[in-house]
Symmetry: C2
Subunit: 380 residues, 2 copies
């Protein structure tokens, strides 16, 4: 896939989407249960075994109400006592943003919990998945998600980051740990990986099951120029190409190495990201040698053979190149098929790994699964 293809794919996901028509209704199985993403005590929204969501809102004086999921407006019907209810099409497993449209006003559903995603804090649907054991909250030892502000010399202001430390971090104060720097996508922010991405729970579960070594995860906000200028994706990708790598290498890494018990060398430092964060990972790993020996690009392009051949330092330093996509993303024709690219990288001597998340698109379920596959390969 070329970078233009990636950009188009990313923009198609995150930009204001046209309102689509729902599919023809299937026979609905009446085994609905409340969602785990509901507010405390709320019965609706519910989901059934077909992964059809049924929403409900009290709007006694409204004339037209829709359940809006992934850019599709599903009509709701007025029932007794002023409640409106409506069903979606079957949804993919995992986390989806949604809202309600009440007489033309697009608003969050007061019955659901909130996340930051697609450019704003908004309501979400957590659709049950076959493999939710990967990110479920289990009664195992848990690490910490730490919220931190610190001064950046590069920007002259404060940066807001989240850091995951593994469960054993406070047991023995002489042990030092490797670090994964893990980036969100366009219109997401530094909260995404620990909330909808559930990176802390994924790590806790992998560690409890003996499937990976303990390491620290650092989550920064990569939407630098978007915040600074109020402009969109185009300028972001230009300016961020300079500014974000500078903040990461000159401010964040030194801050983490001086405030956490890290092993501060390239062998113990990895970089990964989803979508735009994957593009940033590619850009930084090719243009800022000496920092990262292991990289993950989730739904954000590939390291091509041309990249590799033009970059002997990357070839020398890189110990792992992990590329992943949701299967619904690679169904579409692309300039460069990622699976074939990974095969070519392997033949060229790179420890390259390809993963494809079954039946998911450009969304968090793809990235949760990607992290679950990527983490066990790190720092071995």
């Amino acid at each position: 896939m070329n970078s233009k293809g990636v950009l188009a794919a990313v923009c198609g996901m995150v930009m204001a989407m046209p309102v689509l028509m729902p599919q023809a209704a299937a026979q609905v199985v009446e085994d609905f249960k409340s969602l785990s993403s509901n507010q405390y005590g709320e019965q609706y929204p519910m989901v059934n075994s077909q992964r059809i969501v049924r929403g409900r809102i009290l709007a006694p004086a409204a004339h037209e109400v829709f359940l809006q999921i992934n850019g599709i407006n599903y009509p709701m019907t007025k029932e007794a006592e002023g409640y409106w209810t409506g069903d979606s099409d079957p949804l993919d497993e995992g986390n989806h943003y949604y809202g309600l449209v009440i007489d033309g006003a697009t608003v969050p559903d007061p019955a659901s919990l909130f996340l930051y995603g697609s450019g704003a804090e908004r309501t979400q649907l957590e659709i049950p998945a076959q493999d939710e054991y990967k990110y479920a909250l289990r009664d195992v030892p848990h690490g910490q998600i730490r919220e931190i502000y610190f001064h950046s010399d590069v920007t002259g202001g404060l940066r807001h980051i989240f850091v995951y430390t593994p469960p054993q971090y406070d047991d023995d104060l002489t042990v030092r740990y490797p670090v994964l720097y893990l980036q969100h996508g366009y219109t997401e922010n530094e909260t995404g990986w620990s909330r909808q991405g559930r990176c802390g729970l994924i790590m806790d579960n992998l560690l409890a099951d003996g499937k990976c070594v303990p390491f620290i995860i650092v989550m920064e906000n990569g939407e630098i120029s978007h915040q600074a200028s109020g402009t969109g994706f185009g300028s972001l990708m230009t300016a961020a190409n300079d500014l974000f790598p500078k903040i990461l290498t000159q401010d964040v890494i030194p801050y983490i190495d001086s405030h956490f018990r890290t092993v501060p060398d390239i062998a113990h430092r990895a970089l990964a990201g989803l979508s735009m964060g994957g593009m940033q990972t590619r850009h930084i790993s090719l243009n800022y040698p000496g920092y990262f020996s292991q990289i993950g690009i989730f739904s954000g392009g590939v390291i091509s053979i041309q990249d590799l051949n033009g970059n002997p330092e990357f070839k020398k330093d890189n110990k792992l190149t992990f590329i992943s996509y949701g299967s619904r993303e690679v169904e579409n024709p692309r300039g460069q098929a990622p699976k074939e690219t990974v095969s070519a990288l392997k033949e060229a001597g790179i420890n390259a790994v390809y993963y494809e998340s079954p039946l998911t698109a450009h969304e968090w379920q793809t990235w949760r699964r990607s992290l679950y596959e990527f983490a066990p390969l790190l720092f071995r």
Copy 2:
């Protein structure tokens, strides 16, 4: 104030409130600015120098829209292109929950950021205050807010807590710190103190200005029976009187003492809370001797002279009893005036301190200010 009075006052605040009428409109000064609690890039809601809030929502097909703040419905007027706008009465300084009512549907405003409060995640208005320097985000050294899950032997499940560690916590791994256990109110949860309470920023600012000693803050969820049984305040206050103190003393304190560098003795352990958390503080400090030497009760009652006279252990152990209210709370007649009670406690030999937050009610601005006054008195 007797406990019945406190309960009535608390319930009056947090229960579903009757819809009140707005006051007569004053001459509105047209110097509106966007609020800091708005979502990224959102111009509305705005606030002027009279602390009048102006809301706006796109609802082209709606027939009746209100801005709902503190139980009052302020009418909004349809303007060009389907936007509705409306003004509130002048509001008190600080944080207030609010929403919109669109053709009878009560929903969050998509233009604002979310908090958990009054029983749900909902939208907020952060009204500028004369003394917002106390909780502003300044470019000073910052501590960490750590999110943690751990196993509770008392409940047999997981507990979800937040822990503030001061900026210097990771500088010298041989230093140990005192701990303040800090509780939220009814229908709030363990997120309240670090989000709308801004306890981390308050501590960072006090420490940067040399006004207090560094200590750890632990924030638990005190709504035990509410969560367990789905029942309301009455059973909560009964069951929590047994369950919450058990969780705190048998699970939380040992967990904190074994996972953080604390000074694990009564001299270096304080307990405080707001509203219901203040009542829990009173109950625990009177009935669980040996744990806490310093207490803070914010808008949650007092330690009475009768309490003191019936409890020689409390009198012996207590080194600080801090009582506070918002001035708008103590305007109402109460069974026992807190200021006079504190004077009587002082005469009886207790190091008692009274603070009254000017022109605020039973709300977070009162409690932010209470923490700002309380923290410098601790662990001296």
